[in-house]
Amino acid sequence: MSGAFRIPAAGRLKQAKTARFSFDGQSYAGVEGDTLASALLANGVHLVGRSFKYHRPRGVLSAGAEEPNALVQIVRDDARKTPNVRATVQELYDGLAANSQNRWPSLSFDVSAVNDLASPLFSAGFYYKTFMWPKAAWKSLYEPKIREAAGLGISPDRPDPDHYSSRYAHCDVLVLGGGAAGIAAALAAAETGVSVILADEQAKFGGSLRFESGAMIDGQDGFAWAQAAVAKLAAMGNVRVLSRTTAFGYYAQNFVGLVERVSDHLKAPGHDLPRERLWQVRAKRVMLASGAIERHMVFANNDRPGIMLAGAARTYLNQYGVAVGRNVGVYTANDSAYAAAIDLKKAGVNVAAIVDLRDNPTGPVIDEARALGIEINFGRAVIRAGGKLRVSSMTVQPKNGGGERTIPVDAILMSAGWTPSVHLFSQSRGKVAFNDETKRFVPGTYAQDCVSVGACNGTDGLSATLDEAYAAGAKAAKDAGAKDASTKTGKGAKPKVDASESWSRGMLGAAPGAGPDTTVKAFVDFQNDVTAKDIRQAVHEGMRSIEHVKRFTTNGMATDQGKTSNMHGLAIAAETLGKPIPEVGLTTFRAPYTPVTFGAIVSHARGPLFDPTRKTAIHPWAEAQGAVFEDVGQWKRAWYFPKAGEDMHKAVDRECVAVRNKAGLFDASTLGKIEVVGPDAAKFMELLYTNPWEKLEPGRCRYGIMLREDGFIYDDGVVGRLAPDRFHVTTTTGGAPRVMNHMEDYLQTEFPHLNVWLTSITEQWAVIAVQGPKSRDIIAPLVEGIDMSDEALPHMSVREGKICGVPTRLFRMSFTGERGFEVNVPADYGQAVWEALWAEGQKHGATAYGTESMHVLRAEKGYIIVGQDTDGTVTPNDAGLDWAVGKKKADFVGIRGLMRPDLVAKGRKQLVGLKTKDPKVVLEEGAQIVEDPKQPIPMKMIGHVTSSYWSENCGRSIALALVTGGRDRMGDTLYVPMPNGVIEVEVTGMVFFDETGGRLNG
């Protein structure tokens, strides 16, 4: 048995298997194909949640994505707890466990429901007017209490073991919504042969055909027709059918984001299945067939569990075979609720009465209801509902006042009319237009290549809908490039409507009994507890824009984003302002249409795919040696190579000493490398770097500085001239991509007349720096075809030849101040050549060193690191590199920027060395420098420490700093105030080791 309220003869789940589930620990039976909501209702459970502010008991309002009340926490296991799941959307599976939210200690007895009693105090925006005294209490008392009370579900507290996937797709026609309109549109488009994607948020296609028992298409029941038509579409090679797939965002140029719920409905999803799949579809034409959403009636206590939308009750009956009560009342302002009453009555449910606001409506459904013996009350209003945890009665009164009559009921079905779902249309930047006759906003002006069909377009009736959708589908296909739509119709034919239902109209705003003269709680927005009087109050307080009303009352800002409440709120505001609805205007519809998991949006970009981890060819060797790595941009670089028992400082001290006394090997592969080739290569280099290049001889190298046009240092690196028309340029590791882009920009757009081309060769070459007095001895035995003598290969030169039998570009250069080389070899040979050099190095006492030692060694020599010793506000002169600026050059990028008044003014910050008075004290990088340490705060800071290290080679600490007028302060004493005392420093030159530079040839 799957619930006492299951009607054996009704619904489409008759043969379905039983599925056990639990709610708040209580076990129930449902059937496969149920939603959690239908299964709960089948078991007579209406109380499923508590509202946000007043903690009022709430039941199921709807049967779809618009649900504001029935939000639950689904718990698959400890790591898979999902908050705020709409029970009306969650499909049942055997073993599903759900808990109610936002209540304590239990759903039926919630302590915070005291808020409801105090609700007169908690009027709209009350928090803006209080909690201000005493001042400190906001942070310590009020806010923590408010935060505790707020929120709905509970965030997961463990990493999510599920995975999510994504897919880009392109199609000619994308149809959003798989009701009658969407299916007809897809059929018409697909028959022309163009590519079609049809998506619907439900597990089953059909939209309102799921509950419209009166629809007959092509001789069969409407729902059956929908299933057959979708099966036919799915079998076509040019069509992709996506169920459980919600289009959540409509972006520029027909780019639509959809989420497919792949496995949340499965008892035990396979490991390979993603939980959800993000579809990002670019369509030539988009067809919006998103239907309409029923509105509730706004009357006192309209939120009591058991009160729901009439269409929802009908869906529960006709799709799921569930009666939402045994003795139901109906409150309506349009025809559609009659159909619900009729279906329920025919299924054996007692319909206590229909209360219709309208005075004397006529029509077949009314006649039929009357014929079935249902009591109908025209011109009357339900002025209040009775009951608390479940509705127990409805009190009826003539709408213009008069005697009250209370009718016992256990459910109320209500319908104020249907609101076209223009969300996606509006997201596409289309402008809606208000139809005064039907009181609906419908698509007006289109901004993209899309078209709306069916109920979302304000089209009423199945016949008209199918006509419109089928024609529009064919046209969309034609517009998207179908050969000739008319000749292809032989394949299929427009679906023929044999029987249909039709309704429109209804009412907006508060119903009689909840008008301006009352103080009843007639809810407009259920989840956020916004009542009609809250909206009126907002207007009285000067909120004249609907956006202000929305923000002040929070109407429409709950997890349902106002799908049922926006139009009512607008109507009440308009009435209070005394303005027509379109003048007050609609609030903006924003993506997403329904909430989308972060996981789906992130999809693959988690863990190893969050961001690429770049490793050099030599990385495996360093890893095997126990190197510690640091992140530099996306690269992992060997930071230091600790031996057993060494901490970072000991390892670095050892590495630094070894390099200066013997030799060291360093993996410099991450440095950016660009090959500049062409007859105008030197001319181009002249323009992009501050230095002169024309006269650099092939085989020689030069340290180059690149500026931005504003004159500030952008990048630097050693450049080797391989041939008159070929340069091998190196850049900083982090700068490689932007330097390449910068160079391409100038080459393509400012200097396109130059015959030169740029190729990134960063990853072509692994680079092994061999530095130290023994460096040549280590390399030489492995090299072929290169004269390694100082005469033939002086400092700052480059040769091509072979090493270990493979090609090399061998640079004689140094970033340590020692005799040094950088061995470039094709990347796949990098590790083998490194190993060969390492083996050779072992004969000479060489060490491997990492980036930290590299930093120390270069700082001992006063070599700068762009991005550390410079920060985007430093000129070559500031950095002491004026010598690298070609004074005779007529042009280079940055030449004019350098001349600006502030860049040539006195008192700029200049890079200098600092020595602490106590040589053992190592300054902190980023520490600030002052002249007078005794001044009060705020102090006048004149610079900061950019680089600072313990130098084992110097036997003391060393530092570089940017200091105002630094070069005029040589020998001065300055101060670095730290939290635990002031450090005295002396301003010095930037070279701390081997000032004459003799060791370059040592």
């Binding site: 880009y168 972006y251 520029a252 140029q253 780019f255 990002q280 670019r282 930047r429 901004a447 046009e709 504003d710 882009n741 391409e744 920009d745 393509q748 757009t749 400012e750 396109p752 007529a890 042009d891 030449i895 004019r896 920027g897 001349m899 600006r900 008044p901």
Partner: protein, 103 residues
């Protein structure tokens, strides 16, 4: 994500392949060193930032790698046209463009 027609690839490609490169038709002076401070400020800092039609540069970074120019409406983000680098600023825009024409 925008869809951008690359004039070199001769087709529309997803924005992820492109990088915007700022306002177009701001020529770098042939005599850069001789520019005044005001001219340099105009060249490097001042931008039209139009609400309406913008002439801008893009690079098909992860496609053909070419820089090119585009005309786009900054209110709707719709492209009016794209054209190759070095081609003159169009004196007339195609008919489908917004009437908000740049000064």
């Amino acid at each position: 994500m925008l869809l951008i027609r690359c004039p070199y690839c001769e087709e529309e490609r997803p924005e992820l392949e492109f990088r915007n490169a700022g306002e177009a038709h701001i020529a770098r002076s042939a005599n850069m060193a001789g520019e005044s401070d005001d001219d340099f400020e105009k060249f490097f800092f001042i931008r039209s930032n139009p609400k309406g039609i913008i002439y801008e540069r893009w690079r098909h970074m992860h496609g053909c790698a070419r820089f090119f120019n585009a005309v786009r409406d900054t209110v709707t983000d719709k492209f009016v046209m794209t054209y190759k680098a070095g081609e003159p600023k169009p004196s007339k825009l195609p008919k489908n463009s917004n009437e908000v024409v740049a000064k």
